[in-house]
Amino acid sequence: MAQQAHDASVSDWAGGRSPFAVGSKKLGMWLFILSDTLTFTALLVAYTYVRVANEGWPRPFEPSSIALASVMTFCLLSSSLTMVLAVAAAHRGDRATAAKWIWATIAGGLAFIVLHGYEWMQLIEHGVTPFGNPWGVPLFGATFFTLTGLHMTHVTAGVIYLAIVAQGFRGGRFDSEDVEVSGLYWHFVDLVWMFIFPLVYLLSNVI
């Protein structure tokens, strides 16, 4: 077996080996992220399509909500940083530090949820709901709330997921690969926002 591993003529793909050299949990999370990327792309395409095809597209985002969205971006980016630090600590075997960094990540996620929820409430107060708005373009609410709503669902699920991983890793029930896999998910949630923020919020300043 050891001899075979050094034999260059045996391909990685001949079977009996892991050609990607990652654990099955990590590969599974990557495949989930792949399919989830396509889901979010479909929603972003839908939003952009109806936006291009409709005159008088609502622009309910005032400078204050652009500023708020920038702060939300900062929260998510910083929570990604604390998450990589958590993964690094987990690989070192430092369970207490890793759990601490994961809780910092959760704090960033919670801040995002609170700020985004506040922004939604303000929009709803101004009559912008999923089914209608003062500009008479109900497609805005439908696509905007579906897109950001699915993203919020992912953030909320991520916060719960991370809390479970933090507790389980501290208690020794999970290993460092579980922390890394949860980190992949969290970075993905951050990554999706990196596209929603410019395409939905920033562009509404010009077009």
């Binding site: 792309t41 990604s80 990196m194 923020f197 920033l202």
Partner: protein, 98 residues
């Protein structure tokens, strides 16, 4: 230990770059640019940010190249296809309206 320190410094650098690019994006939103120029700049900057996150935070740069090849190229093709066909059609629908 020094290896770990250099890794943490790498993560911090990536985070700072991501923040700077975000600030540039926000500033762009307040500068008077033509719509197409602004749209393409924002998309390029966002793809750059996404690449940084995937490469360093999600560690794909340090995985085997075969994993990258299996995950990313076909995903990019799918995403580009999904944008390339509907968007010109959206503009056409707008022109068809009386």
């Amino acid at each position: 230990m020094s290896d770990e320190h250099s890794h943490n410094r790498l993560y911090l650098t990536v985070w700072v770059v991501l923040l700077v690019v975000t600030v540039v994006e926000v500033v762009l939103a307040y500068v008077n640019l033509s719509i197409m120029l602004m749209l393409s700049t924002l998309v390029i900057l966002s793809v750059f940010k996404a690449a940084l996150i995937v490469a360093y935070f999600m560690h794909l740069r340090f995985e085997k190249f075969s994993l990258f090849l299996s995950l990313i190229p076909m995903l990019l093709i799918c995403v580009i296809l999904m944008f390339a066909f509907p968007l010109p059609d959206g503009a056409r629908v707008l022109e068809l309206k009386p």
